[in-house]
Symmetry: D4
Subunit: 166 residues, 8 copies
C-alpha cells in the first residue's frame, strides 16, 4: 500500500525531491514519485490528489519554487497532512534565494495548513512523513529512535576524530 505521494512541480526539481524518496526507501515506506504543476497541469494535480486519497493514501509531499502554489492547491483538496518543500531554483528562472517559495508555501490562510520544512530540505520532508506515519506504526517509531541515536553517534565520532588529530 502506497502511503506517501511525492509531487515535484517540474522535472528540474526532481534532483532535490528525490532526497525525500531516498529517506522513505531507507525507512521502508512505500511511496509514489510523480511530476505535476499547480499552474501548467491543474486538473492533473487535483486528480492525482483525489485518486491518492481514494486509495487510502496518508501523506503528500510537494516541492515547488518561485510562487510555490503546489502544496496549497494540494492542501485544498486533501484532508490529511500535506508537507511543502520550498525550492530555491525552478525551471531555469532565478527567484529570490528561495524566499519567494518559502513564503508562498508557508503563509497559508487559517483552515488549510501546509507543514513547511526548510528551503530545498526534501530530506526533512521525508523524515516528517515517516514521523507522521510513526504516530500509528511502532515499527517506524523504533526506526526513528534509532535514527536519532545514529545522528548523535556520527557527531560524537567526528568530534573524536577531530580531537585525535589535534
Amino acid at each position: 500500500m502506497t502511503r506517501v505521494l511525492i509531487i515535484s512541480a517540474s522535472e528540474s526539481d526532481l534532483i532535490v525531491m528525490r532526497e525525500a524518496a531516498k529517506v522513505l526507501d531507507e525507512f521502508g515506506v512505500e511511496y509514489e514519485l510523480t511530476i505535476s504543476s499547480a499552474h501548467r497541469s491543474p486538473d492533473r494535480s487535483v486528480k492525482l490528489v483525489k485518486n491518492f486519497y481514494g486509495s487510502d493514501g496518508k501523506v503528500i509531499i510537494c516541492g515547488a519554487g518561485l510562487a510555490a502554489h503546489l502544496a496549497g492547491v494540494v492542501a485544498a483538496h486533501f484532508p490529511l497532512p500535506v508537507i511543502g518543500v520550498p525550492l530555491k531554483n525552478k525551471g531555469g528562472l532565478e527567484g529570490l534565494e528561495g524566499l519567494d517559495a518559502l513564503l508562498s508555501t508557508m503563509q497559508m490562510p487559517s483552515g488549510i495548513p501546509v507543514a513547511t520544512v526548510g528551503i530545498d530540505n526534501a530530506k526533512n520532508a521525508g523524515i516528517l512523513a515517516v514521523q507522521i506515519l510513526a504516530t500509528s506504526d511502532k515499527n517506524l517509531e523504533r526506526k526513528l529512535v534509532d535514527y536519532k541515536k545514529k545522528l548523535a553517534r556520527i557527531v560524537e565520532e567526528k568530534a573524536k576524530q577531530l580531537s585525535s588529530r589535534t
Copy 2:
C-alpha cells in the same frame, strides 16, 4: 455583457477590492464582484472561472493576501489576462507587510503569467483592466486619455494652490 470578474479571496478583503469596482463603475465597464478562495473553496473558484470564460468574459482581477494563490489558480484555468492584487492584511492574520502576497502573486512560472499591480492597489488593477479592454474599444481609450489629462491637471492645481499660499 460582463467583461470583468473581480474575485476577493475573503470577505475582509472586500474593503480593498471594491476600489477596483469603483474604477470600473467610473469608466462604465460592467463587472461582477464575488468572493472565492483558492484554498477554502477550490472547486467554486475553478467553476467561477470556467463559467465566466464560457460567457465570453475578458479579464479577471484577483485580490488575496499571505500565500496569495488565488490569481495563480485562476490563471491556470483562464487563457485571457489575469490581474493580481497582493493584499497586506488578510482575515485577521498578519503577514510580512505584504511581501508574502507580492511574491506569491508575481513570481509565476513560465507560461502562466499574472499581471501584478502594487500592494493593496486594487484601483490600479481596475485601471489596468480598462486599459486591456481599451485595446479594442475606442470609447474606453478616449476615456483613458482624458483620465491621464485629469491626473496631470490635479497636480498642476495643487502646485498652484501651494505657490499662492507661500
Copy 3:
C-alpha cells in the same frame, strides 16, 4: 489519553497559542497546554518532552518568537512530529515582523524537521495536529472532511450575501 502537547514559550504568547487548543477542543482531541522556554527553563523543556513521549504522546506543538528555538529543542528530543508556530511579538520585545521567528523555526538542519505553519497561525498548527492523528483515526478523518466542506460552504454563503446586496 493526551495525544497532543502544546508548549507556549512564554505567558504572553498564550493568547495566540490558545487558538491551537480551541481547534483541538472542537475536534475532540485531548491535549495539554503548558509554558516552557528553550532558554529560560531548558531542563524543564526536555523533561516535559521525555515525559510526554513516555506516556505515549503523539504530536507536540510549539509556539515561540524572536530566535524561536523551542520547536528545535523539542524536535531534538522527540522522535515523532513537532509543529512550530513562529510568533510575531514576544514578551514585550519587538522582533522583525516575525521574520526572525519564521527562519529560526523553519530552517532546521537535515535529520531534524520542524513542521512549520504560518506566522501566528496557531489555528493551523491545531488543524495539522488533527490531520496527523487522522492518518490512523477514521473518526477524525471524517470530521476533517466535514470541516473542509464547511469552509467551502461559508465562502459560498458570503458570496451569495454579497451578490444579493448588489
Copy 4:
C-alpha cells in the same frame, strides 16, 4: 501592423528580453524590439512611446534592472497596457537579487499601473501581451487555449517517462 513594442533598457538586457520576442513570433504577433533608457535617453523614450501610440500600437513591454524606471516612464505617456519585466542583472552592476527592480517596477502610484511579471520572466511578458490582444482576437485566443493544453500535455509526458523508468 505592429501591435507590440518591446523596449530593453540596455543592450546587455537584450539576452533576457528576446524571450518576449520569441513568444510573439511563436504566436504570430508583429512587434518591434528596441533599446531605450529612462535615464540615459529620456527624450527618445518618450518619443518612441508617442510614435508607437500614434501608429495604433496596443501594448508596450519594458525590461529594466536596478531602479527600473523605464516601465513607469512609459506608463506615464501611454494610455494602454504597459508590461514591466524586473531584471536581475543590469549593465555590469549587481543589484539586490532583482528585489530593487521588482519594487521599482511594481509599486506604482494610483492611476498609473504597470502590469508586472516575475523577475527576468520576459517569456511571461510576451504571453501576457498575447493574452491582452486575444481579448479581441479569436484566432489568438484559440492559440492560447492550445498553448495551455500543450503545457499540461508536456507535464503528463514527463510524469509518464518518470514512472516508466522506476
Copy 5:
C-alpha cells in the same frame, strides 16, 4: 536668485518635504517648493526642471514614495546635483516600510546618479543642498561649521543634564 528647487511627488508628501525647506530658510538659501509627479504629470516635471536649469538653478531635491521615480526622471534632464528623499508613506497606499522607495531612488544606472539620503530624512536633503552650495560660498561654509559645533554642544548639554540628575 533661487538656487534650490524642492519637488514633492504629491500633496500628502509635503508634510515631510517641508523639513528640507525649513533647513534652507535657517541657512538663508532661497528655494522654490512645488508639487509634481513623474507619473501623473510627466510633462510638467520635465518642464519644471528645464526652466529651473535655464534660470541658473543649482540643486534639485525630490521626495517620492513607493516606486519613487521622480528623482530619476529629474536626474535624466538635469546635469547638476539631484538629491532624492525616499518616503515611507505615499498617498494613502502603504509600501514596504520605505524599502521600495529607497531602492527605487538609489539604485540608479551608471551615468545618472541620485544623491540619496535616509528614508523620510528631508532635513538631511536640505543640509546636503547647503553643503553643495557651500563648496563655492564661504558664508554658507562658515554657517555649516557653526551648525556642526551646535550639534555637538547640544549633545554635551544633554549629557550634562543627565549626569546632574543622577
Copy 6:
C-alpha cells in the same frame, strides 16, 4: 589644487573605487586616492579629513562594505559634501548582498547627511562629485551637458544597430 578626496576602506575595495577616479580623470578634476579604515585606522581617517579640509578640499568620496561606517565618520568631521558608495564584498568576508553596506551608509541621523549612490556604483560617485563642483564651474557644467548627450547618443546608436540587424 586637489578638490576631491577618494577614500577606500580597504585595499581589496580599490578595484571598485578606481571607477570613481577614472571619471574624475575623464572630466579633468584633480583628486587624491587613498586607503583608510573607520575601524582599523580611526585616527588616520580623522587626520586625512582635517588635512584635506584645511587645504581647501571640497568633496570626499568614501567606499566601504559590511557595516560601512567610513562615510559616516568622515561626515562627522567634514562640513562639505560626503558621498558614500556601499560595497558588496569586503576583505574576503561576505555580507548580505550589499544590503548591510547600503543601510549603514544611507540611514544617517538628522544633521549629518551622506549622499549615497548605488551599491558598488563608484562611477556614479565620481559623476556626483563632478556635478557638485560644476555648481560653481561653468567648464565642468558644459562637460556634464556633453556627457549627458553622449549617453543618449550611445543608446540611439545601439538601437540603430539592433534594428538594422533584424
Copy 7:
C-alpha cells in the same frame, strides 16, 4: 570603581538604554550612563572612551539606531569588549524595523568585533556586561547562576498557575 560605561546615541534612546542600567544596579555593578553621538559629537565620543579606558574601565555598552555607528566608533578606540544594542526607533525618524541598526552594529570588519545583542534588548546588553565581569569575579558569577535559576523558577510557576486554572 566604574567598570561599565553605557553610551546612548541620543536622548530619545535613553528610555531603552536605561534597561541596561537597571540590570547593572540589580547585580550591584557600578556604571556611568551618558549620551554621545558618533556623528554629532565625534570628538566627545572618542574622549569619553579614552578617559574611561584610562580609569581602568572594562566594558562599554552602546545603543544606537539607523546607521548605528556608535559601537563601531567606540570599538575602534577601545581594546576591551564593546557591546552594541541596535535600536528600532531613533530621534523621531523611522528606520527599517531595526534591520538597519542591526546590520550597522553587527557586520563589523575583521579585527574590530562588536558583541551585538537583539534589537532594543538593552537588558541583555546589561547581562552580557555582567557575564564578562563575572569571568574574574566569583561573586558576580554566583549571582548569575542564581539569576538563571530564578528565570527557570518563574517559568515553572507560570506553568503551574496555568495548569491549576484549567
Copy 8:
C-alpha cells in the same frame, strides 16, 4: 587551563570556525575545539557545556548556520559569556545568505544574551573572547593594544604603497 571552548555545529563548518582558533593561538590563549549539534547531539552539547563550566572555563564560542540554535542552547546552560557566529553555508544546504543564522543567533529573549559577531566572522569571535579574558589579564590587554596598533600600521603602509605607485 582551557579558558575558551569553540563548538562547531558540524564538520563542514570547521573551515570557518578554525579562524577563531587561529586568533586564540596568536594571542596564546588555550582553547578546545570540538563539534556538537544542538539538534543532532543535544545531550552531548549540554554535557560539553557543563563539563567546561565545571573545569572553570570562561567563554564559549559557537558557530552554526540555518536555524542556528547552538549558541542559544549553550547560553541556556552556561552563566558566563557565549559568543555566536552566524554561518552562511551549512552541511550542503543553502540558507538565506546567512540572514537566517544571523537572526536565530542574535534575537535572543531577555535574560539569555548571545554576543553575536558578523556572518562567518569567526576571527572576530576569537578577538572578542580575548577581549573578555583581557578584562582581568593585563598581559592579554597589552597584546590587544599592540594588535590595534598593528591594524592601523598595515592600513598606513598600504596607503603609502598606493600613493608611491601613482
